[in-house]
Subunit: 119 residues, 2 copies
Protein backbone atom coordinates (compact mmCIF):
# COMPACT_ATOMS: atom_id res chain seq x y z
CA UNK A 1 0.00 0.00 0.00
CA UNK A 2 1.30 3.42 -0.97
CA UNK A 3 2.01 5.91 1.76
CA UNK A 4 0.31 9.22 2.14
CA UNK A 5 2.25 12.41 2.61
CA UNK A 6 1.16 14.81 5.32
CA UNK A 7 -0.87 17.02 3.02
CA UNK A 8 -2.43 14.08 1.22
CA UNK A 9 -3.40 12.56 4.52
CA UNK A 10 -5.18 15.72 5.58
CA UNK A 11 -7.30 15.56 2.48
CA UNK A 12 -8.02 11.89 3.04
CA UNK A 13 -9.14 12.53 6.58
CA UNK A 14 -11.87 14.75 5.19
CA UNK A 15 -12.76 12.34 2.42
CA UNK A 16 -12.98 9.48 4.90
CA UNK A 17 -15.46 11.42 6.98
CA UNK A 18 -17.95 11.64 4.14
CA UNK A 19 -19.47 9.33 1.68
CA UNK A 20 -18.97 11.49 -1.32
CA UNK A 21 -18.14 15.12 -1.73
CA UNK A 22 -17.14 17.91 -4.07
CA UNK A 23 -13.89 19.80 -4.00
CA UNK A 24 -15.51 22.80 -2.44
CA UNK A 25 -16.94 20.67 0.34
CA UNK A 26 -13.47 19.34 1.04
CA UNK A 27 -12.09 22.85 1.22
CA UNK A 28 -14.88 23.75 3.63
CA UNK A 29 -14.04 20.89 5.92
CA UNK A 30 -10.32 21.55 5.98
CA UNK A 31 -8.90 23.15 9.09
CA UNK A 32 -7.64 26.72 8.81
CA UNK A 33 -5.73 27.97 7.03
CA UNK A 34 -7.77 26.46 4.25
CA UNK A 35 -5.86 25.61 1.11
CA UNK A 36 -6.85 27.07 -2.25
CA UNK A 37 -9.47 25.25 -4.26
CA UNK A 38 -6.92 24.29 -6.89
CA UNK A 39 -4.52 22.98 -4.32
CA UNK A 40 -7.12 20.52 -3.16
CA UNK A 41 -7.82 19.69 -6.78
CA UNK A 42 -4.17 18.88 -7.35
CA UNK A 43 -4.04 16.58 -4.37
CA UNK A 44 -7.17 14.80 -5.46
CA UNK A 45 -5.56 14.09 -8.79
CA UNK A 46 -2.52 12.71 -7.00
CA UNK A 47 -4.72 10.67 -4.69
CA UNK A 48 -6.64 9.32 -7.63
CA UNK A 49 -3.38 8.29 -9.31
CA UNK A 50 -2.29 6.57 -6.11
CA UNK A 51 -5.61 4.77 -5.96
CA UNK A 52 -6.93 6.38 -2.80
CA UNK A 53 -9.96 8.11 -4.27
CA UNK A 54 -12.30 7.76 -7.20
CA UNK A 55 -14.50 10.36 -8.74
CA UNK A 56 -17.77 10.29 -10.60
CA UNK A 57 -19.36 12.99 -12.65
CA UNK A 58 -22.52 14.30 -11.09
CA UNK A 59 -24.28 16.84 -13.22
CA UNK A 60 -21.38 18.77 -14.61
CA UNK A 61 -18.89 18.34 -11.83
CA UNK A 62 -17.02 15.61 -10.08
CA UNK A 63 -17.73 14.10 -6.70
CA UNK A 64 -14.99 12.27 -4.87
CA UNK A 65 -15.01 9.37 -2.50
CA UNK A 66 -12.44 7.18 -0.81
CA UNK A 67 -11.49 3.96 -2.53
CA UNK A 68 -9.08 2.89 0.19
CA UNK A 69 -11.01 2.56 3.41
CA UNK A 70 -9.70 4.33 6.45
CA UNK A 71 -9.53 1.01 8.23
CA UNK A 72 -7.27 -0.50 5.61
CA UNK A 73 -4.91 2.42 5.68
CA UNK A 74 -4.89 2.49 9.45
CA UNK A 75 -4.01 -1.16 9.41
CA UNK A 76 -1.01 -0.68 7.20
CA UNK A 77 0.09 2.45 8.97
CA UNK A 78 -0.11 0.64 12.26
CA UNK A 79 2.00 -2.19 10.97
CA UNK A 80 4.73 0.26 10.13
CA UNK A 81 4.47 1.88 13.50
CA UNK A 82 4.58 -1.49 15.23
CA UNK A 83 7.58 -2.64 13.32
CA UNK A 84 9.55 0.57 13.81
CA UNK A 85 8.77 1.10 17.45
CA UNK A 86 7.65 -2.18 18.95
CA UNK A 87 9.53 -4.84 17.05
CA UNK A 88 6.28 -5.68 15.35
CA UNK A 89 4.66 -6.73 18.57
CA UNK A 90 1.18 -5.54 19.41
CA UNK A 91 1.63 -6.83 22.93
CA UNK A 92 4.52 -4.45 23.40
CA UNK A 93 2.43 -1.56 22.16
CA UNK A 94 -0.30 -2.61 24.52
CA UNK A 95 2.08 -2.71 27.48
CA UNK A 96 3.49 0.63 26.46
CA UNK A 97 0.07 2.21 26.47
CA UNK A 98 -0.65 0.86 29.91
CA UNK A 99 2.68 2.05 31.26
CA UNK A 100 2.22 5.46 29.76
CA UNK A 101 -1.19 5.67 31.35
CA UNK A 102 -2.98 5.86 28.09
CA UNK A 103 -4.90 2.80 29.09
CA UNK A 104 -5.73 1.70 32.57
CA UNK A 105 -6.34 -1.88 33.47
CA UNK A 106 -9.88 -1.28 34.62
CA UNK A 107 -10.83 0.08 31.23
CA UNK A 108 -9.18 -2.85 29.54
CA UNK A 109 -11.11 -5.32 31.65
CA UNK A 110 -14.38 -3.67 30.77
CA UNK A 111 -13.50 -3.63 27.12
CA UNK A 112 -12.49 -7.25 27.20
CA UNK A 113 -15.85 -8.24 28.59
CA UNK A 114 -17.57 -6.43 25.78
CA UNK A 115 -15.30 -7.91 23.16
CA UNK A 116 -15.82 -11.38 24.51
CA UNK A 117 -19.55 -10.96 24.25
CA UNK A 118 -19.16 -10.17 20.59
CA UNK A 119 -17.67 -13.57 19.93
Amino acid sequence: MKELTKAEEQIMQVVWEHDQLFIKDIVDHMPDPKPAYNTVGTFLKILEAKGFVTRVKIGNTYAYSASVKKKAYTQSFMNGFLSNYFEGSAEKLFSFMVEEKKLNLKQVEDLMKKLKDND
Copy 2:
Protein backbone atom coordinates in the same frame (compact mmCIF):
# COMPACT_ATOMS: atom_id res chain seq x y z
CA MET B 1 8.47 17.87 19.83
CA LYS B 2 9.81 18.20 16.30
CA GLU B 3 8.93 15.53 13.81
CA LEU B 4 11.40 13.33 12.07
CA THR B 5 11.35 12.86 8.33
CA LYS B 6 11.64 9.35 6.97
CA ALA B 7 15.35 9.50 6.36
CA GLU B 8 16.06 11.16 9.66
CA GLU B 9 14.05 8.52 11.43
CA GLN B 10 16.10 5.76 9.86
CA ILE B 11 19.24 7.29 11.26
CA MET B 12 17.64 7.71 14.65
CA GLN B 13 16.63 4.06 14.71
CA VAL B 14 20.29 3.17 14.50
CA VAL B 15 21.36 5.78 17.03
CA TRP B 16 18.69 4.58 19.44
CA GLU B 17 20.03 1.06 19.24
CA HIS B 18 23.42 2.08 20.55
CA ASP B 19 24.76 4.13 23.36
CA GLN B 20 27.22 6.09 21.35
CA LEU B 21 28.64 5.66 17.93
CA PHE B 22 30.66 7.15 15.11
CA ILE B 23 29.39 8.05 11.67
CA LYS B 24 31.00 5.02 10.12
CA ASP B 25 29.29 2.77 12.65
CA ILE B 26 25.97 4.28 11.74
CA VAL B 27 26.62 3.65 8.07
CA ASP B 28 27.49 0.06 8.91
CA HIS B 29 24.23 -0.47 10.73
CA MET B 30 22.06 1.06 8.04
CA PRO B 31 20.07 -1.33 5.89
CA ASP B 32 21.08 -1.66 2.27
CA PRO B 33 21.44 0.32 0.16
CA LYS B 34 23.69 2.07 2.59
CA PRO B 35 23.89 5.83 2.24
CA ALA B 36 27.18 7.61 1.66
CA TYR B 37 29.21 8.61 4.68
CA ASN B 38 28.57 12.28 4.02
CA THR B 39 24.85 11.74 3.70
CA VAL B 40 24.76 10.36 7.20
CA GLY B 41 26.92 13.24 8.32
CA THR B 42 24.45 15.74 6.91
CA PHE B 43 21.55 14.10 8.67
CA LEU B 44 23.41 14.08 11.93
CA LYS B 45 23.95 17.78 11.61
CA ILE B 46 20.23 18.24 10.99
CA LEU B 47 19.38 15.97 13.88
CA GLU B 48 21.71 17.87 16.14
CA ALA B 49 20.06 21.14 15.13
CA LYS B 50 16.66 19.62 15.86
CA GLY B 51 17.89 18.49 19.24
CA PHE B 52 17.70 14.76 18.63
CA VAL B 53 21.38 13.92 18.98
CA THR B 54 24.45 15.30 20.66
CA ARG B 55 28.04 14.68 19.83
CA VAL B 56 31.23 14.64 21.80
CA LYS B 57 34.76 14.66 20.53
CA ILE B 58 36.57 11.45 21.25
CA GLY B 59 40.17 11.52 20.20
CA ASN B 60 39.99 13.45 16.98
CA THR B 61 36.54 12.48 15.85
CA TYR B 62 32.99 12.86 16.99
CA ALA B 63 30.77 10.26 18.60
CA TYR B 64 27.02 10.66 18.48
CA SER B 65 24.27 9.66 20.84
CA ALA B 66 20.55 10.22 21.13
CA SER B 67 19.39 13.13 23.23
CA VAL B 68 15.71 12.43 22.67
CA LYS B 69 14.92 8.98 24.00
CA LYS B 70 13.15 6.55 21.75
CA LYS B 71 10.40 6.26 24.32
CA ALA B 72 9.72 9.99 24.29
CA TYR B 73 9.53 10.11 20.54
CA THR B 74 7.36 7.02 20.40
CA GLN B 75 5.04 8.65 22.88
CA SER B 76 4.60 11.74 20.77
CA PHE B 77 4.36 9.81 17.55
CA MET B 78 1.71 7.60 19.08
CA ASN B 79 -0.28 10.60 20.19
CA GLY B 80 -0.41 11.81 16.63
CA PHE B 81 -1.43 8.40 15.42
CA LEU B 82 -4.12 8.13 18.06
CA SER B 83 -5.55 11.52 17.30
CA ASN B 84 -5.59 11.04 13.54
CA TYR B 85 -6.92 7.52 13.51
CA PHE B 86 -8.62 6.81 16.80
CA GLU B 87 -10.04 10.13 17.91
CA GLY B 88 -7.30 10.23 20.49
CA SER B 89 -8.61 7.15 22.24
CA ALA B 90 -6.23 4.41 23.26
CA GLU B 91 -9.22 2.17 24.00
CA LYS B 92 -10.23 2.43 20.37
CA LEU B 93 -6.76 1.47 19.25
CA PHE B 94 -6.85 -1.42 21.64
CA SER B 95 -10.18 -2.63 20.30
CA PHE B 96 -8.92 -2.21 16.78
CA MET B 97 -5.92 -4.39 17.46
CA VAL B 98 -8.10 -7.09 18.92
CA GLU B 99 -10.51 -6.96 16.00
CA GLU B 100 -7.69 -7.08 13.51
CA LYS B 101 -6.29 -10.09 15.30
CA LYS B 102 -3.11 -8.35 16.23
CA LEU B 103 -3.90 -9.12 19.82
CA ASN B 104 -5.95 -11.96 21.15
CA LEU B 105 -7.79 -11.83 24.40
CA LYS B 106 -5.84 -14.65 25.96
CA GLN B 107 -2.59 -12.78 25.44
CA VAL B 108 -4.08 -9.67 26.90
CA GLU B 109 -5.26 -11.50 29.99
CA ASP B 110 -1.81 -12.91 30.56
CA LEU B 111 -0.22 -9.54 30.08
CA MET B 112 -2.66 -7.92 32.43
CA LYS B 113 -1.76 -10.33 35.16
CA LYS B 114 1.90 -9.48 34.72
CA LEU B 115 1.24 -5.78 34.66
CA LYS B 116 -0.87 -5.98 37.79
CA ASP B 117 1.92 -7.73 39.63
CA ASN B 118 4.19 -4.83 38.82
CA ASP B 119 1.99 -2.41 40.73
